[in-house]
């Protein structure tokens, strides 16, 4: 249960791919990637969670940080592919609507 993160950019729009388990062990590494991403003032970011198998509250906090950072810059965040356990957690925390995955 490890995690990996990749940022792919097409036509200037970054897509953050998160795979595996986003949890208390891996969330700090994602937070570092988020800082680098936000520094580019991307405007709009897509987060692809279709390969995300597990998430805990630390992982959720990292994604909330990304959401708040993008919004503070006047940008937009779109989450795609959320499923199974991560989707259940987002719904429980009422973040499915915030993240536009309802």
């Amino acid at each position: 249960m490890t995690a990996s993160f990749d940022v792919q950019t097409q036509q200037g729009q970054p897509t953050l791919l998160v795979r595996g388990s986003l949890d208390i062990n891996s969330a700090p590494r994602l937070a570092e990637r988020i800082d680098l991403l936000l520094a580019t003032k991307p405007g709009r970011v897509v987060v692809d969670l279709s390969a995300l198998d597990l998430i805990d509250s630390s992982g959720v906090a990292a994604l909330v940080k990304l959401y708040k950072g993008i919004r503070a810059q006047g940008g937009q965040l779109e989450m795609r592919g959320t499923r199974d356990q991560p989707l259940a957690i987002f719904k429980l925390l009422r973040m499915d609507k915030v993240f536009g995955i309802a």
Binding site: S21, L54, D56, S57, V64, D84, Q85, L92, L93
Partner: protein
């Protein structure tokens, strides 16, 4: 009536979190009958609602013990006992770390998009029962019944 009692003892450190989560996932699978591991890729997925709920709750309590009871230092162990019965799982987790007031932990302000304080809320919401008794050893009890179709 217990079908099986499973025990795991791991150091109270995040390095051993994956081992513990897999242990609980397997205990869940014995109750729900789900299949979690992709035989082709070796991938690990939690899809059944029962597994989702219990694994999610367990991860949060494990994090809590490591970070708050043991303060992120490996100075104790976490003993996990899983009692598997037909249609239910009951878990006991023991640690010898710092105690806290379980009932004083506030609900997170979900409307404000919190970046912390969500762990116990997840655990409380996902399980049928959760309790904490300060020790030593501190004792967490977590339990959930499998809801079968037609039982709602």
């Amino acid at each position: 009536m217990s079908v099986a009692t499973l025990r795991l003892v791991v150091p109270g450190h995040l390095r051993f979190r994956t081992v513990a989560v897999r242990f609980i996932a397997e205990a869940c699978r014995l109750v729900s009958g789900s299949h979690m591991f992709d035989d082709r890729t070796g991938g690990f997925q939690v899809q059944h609602p029962f597994d989702t709920a219990f694994v999610s709750a367990f991860m949060e309590i494990f994090n809590n013990i490591v970070l708050h009871a043991y303060g992120g230092t490996e100075r104790g162990v976490i003993e996990v006992t899983a009692s598997v019965t037909v249609g239910a799982l009951a878990l006991e987790m023991r640690d010898t770390g710092t105690i806290f007031d379980f009932h004083a932990v506030p609900l997170p302000a979900l409307d404000e998009l919190p970046e912390g304080g969500m762990g116990l809320h997840i655990a409380r919401t996902m399980l049928d029962e959760i309790s904490y008794r300060p020790g030593p050893p501190n004792l967490w009890r977590l339990s959930k019944r499998l809801v079968l179709p037609g039982q709602l």
